[in-house]
Amino acid sequence: MTCPRCLYDHAETVTAAPEGGAAVWEVRQCPRCWYAWRSTEAPARTSAEHFPAEHRLTPEAIDAAPELPAVPPLLPGVPEPAAAPGEDRGATA
């Protein structure tokens, strides 16, 4: 499935209507730009062809986006975290 916003080819179905399932609606999301839409929304929200040009995103724009807030430097002596960013590191204590 193609993301209407960034055209990534691996957008996913996240969930379906709790009552009636996919026949009623599905929610889809792009794991690259995080755009989400419901299958029942207007074409400007659901199809790459009709998605507004001024709101499109490219991989370059995503990479160049500023951080808010910026990630601070680690305090002296604090080791680099082992897990890669975004990786599930298990339940909180």
Binding site: W25, V27, Q29, A36, T40, A65, P66, V71, P81, T92
Partner: protein, 482 residues
């Protein structure tokens, strides 16, 4: 009586004719956002909306516009729904005198009725999420109380922060969060990330109305929102211990999400239609991983529409912005009478003050720009005399028309900080600021011809009371004044 949860407040709104229950099935898009947008245009007596049936949900319940009128804001403070804006702000400030009023922990929070853990979590099944504005990057949660503690001082109750931040749903158990750099949560996150640690977080959704008010109030870092909630309620705010993180959370919340803000992770977020009436996005922001959800049976999804002002958020933030600014100014300048900072969270603010000495009013205006909240707001400050009501815009316009001389009464401050969401800031987060002194010059500032102002006839107030009474009831048989 203060309300201990959202349900109690909705019942009170219903009793006062301030709630519309909508039982017809509504489509998540575009019905819910359209109805909330429309409700915001119904004026100072606009009702809250409670949708009881959302397509695709067996029991989807959505509450909108809950704080979205002056009548509802008054009822949130347990005041008569006809209470005027200026009076509501004054009462808010008067109750702040009781701050801090310690919170109380209660057993048996109703949110413990249902629990979801780890990969069993699906936010979309718990909440009827929907798109608010057409170009939003996804579905948002934007009226939840987000609770964190200071990693450097985790036992300090006052440093525990309760704030409302926009949360973008990024999957079944993942939320993007916007912790603005000037907000306390950003301080907590920075301390955690400097240590390479995740920051435990609790997101309490669907709260008693005072919790939302205090979460929208700019408070000092060590001041507890919960202890302000107690002062506003006149009785301690009921809290519960969050089962996973141990954070203090509102006892009556509908849904409690717990997890962590993942350390040193940033992901693209937005855009989102903001309270400025403009979209903001295109930045990489932190992410919450949800590890546990607790919720009441058939939880109510309390949501807030925001867009081109005025919308619900302007009522929610309006008095909550005026009061701390008023109190901070008065602490140093007791001559200050009132502050109206209700325009876009105080980007424009009006102060009325007595003048101690020539130039005093502009000093007060400048001080407003250097209050903690003013650093990111208060871009345009108008200062008026003590006899001008800053909540009465025709009076303010009169002061600007006749007291203000652009040759001498403009103070322009270049290169000042402002919140990055201000679409006029350039570069982002930097703006000029301006103070417009529309007060009457006092010695030694001898300027203008202001001694000729017209004053009321001697018995005007008495006649106003009498005429108002007659207009509301039967008039006396004779027209003679008593």
């Amino acid at each position: 009586m203060p309300y201990d949860d959202l349900r109690g407040y909705l019942e009170a709104l219903d009793e006062h004719g301030q709630l519309l229950r909508i039982t017809e099935p509504a489509a998540p898009e575009p019905d819910l956002a359209a109805a909330a947008t429309a409700a915001a245009r119904m004026g100072p007596r606009a009702p809250a909306l409670c949708f009881e049936s959302v397509t695709g949900y067996a029991a989807g319940r959505v509450a909108l516009n809950v704080h979205g009128s002056w009548a509802n804001h008054a009822l949130a403070l347990d005041l008569p729904p006809t209470t005027g804006v200026r009076e509501q702000v004054a009462e808010f400030s008067r109750r702040w005198d009781s701050f801090p009023l310690p919170a109380e922990h209660r057993p048996g929070p109703p949110f413990l009725a249902h629990t979801l853990l780890g990969e069993d979590i699906d936010l979309y099944r718990v909440l009827p999420l929907f798109r608010l504005n057409a170009h939003d990057g996804g579905f948002y949660v934007d009226k939840a109380a987000v609770v964190t503690r200071d990693p450097e001082d985790p036992d300090h109750f006052g440093k525990q922060n309760v704030g409302i931040y926009r949360l973008q749903c990024k999957g079944r158990r993942r939320l993007g969060i916007q912790p603005g750099s000037i907000h306390d949560i950003a301080r907590h996150l920075r301390a955690a990330e400097e240590r390479g640690q995740d920051l435990p977080v609790a997101v309490a959704l669907g709260n008693d109305p005072v919790i939302s008010l205090v979460a929208a109030t700019p408070m000092a870092y060590e001041e507890s929102e919960y202890e302000l909630a107690g002062a506003l309620r006149g009785t301690p705010a009921p809290l519960a211990r969050a089962p996973l993180t141990g954070l203090d959370v509102p006892w009556g919340c509908e849904v409690l999400m717990e997890g962590v803000i993942e350390s040193r992770v940033r992901e693209i977020e937005g855009p989102f239609g903001e309270f400025t009436g403009h979209y903001s996005g295109g930045r990489r922001m932190p992410v919450i991983r949800i590890d546990r959800i607790s919720h009441r049976t058939d939880p109510i999804f309390e949501h807030l529409y925001l867009g081109l002002p005025w919308t619900e958020i302007d009522y929610l933030m309006g008095p909550a912005t005026c009061v701390p600014l008023l109190r901070q100014l008065r602490a140093e300048f007791p001559e200050v009478v009132a502050v109206n900072a209700m325009y876009t969270h105080g980007l424009v603010a009006i102060v009325s003050t007595r003048s101690r000495v020539g130039g005093f009013a502009r000093a007060v205006g400048l001080r407003l720009t250097t209050t903690p909240h003013g650093l990111g707001y208060c871009k345009v400050v108008v200062v008026v005399d003590e006899n001008v009501d800053p909540f009465d815009l025709p009076q303010v316009m009169w002061a600007l028309s006749t007291k203000f001389n652009p040759s001498q009464d403009v103070i322009h401050l270049p290169g000042m900080p402002v919140l990055p969401l201000d679409p006029s800031s350039s570069p982002t987060g930097i703006s000029g600021k301006i103070v417009l002194d529309a007060t009457t010059p006092v010695p030694p500032d001898h300027r203008g011809r202001h001694t000729t102002a017209v004053t009321d006839a001697p018995r005007t107030q008495e006649w106003l009371t009498r005429l108002t009474s007659w207009a509301q009831g039967p008039r006396p048989s004779t027209g003679a004044a008593p």
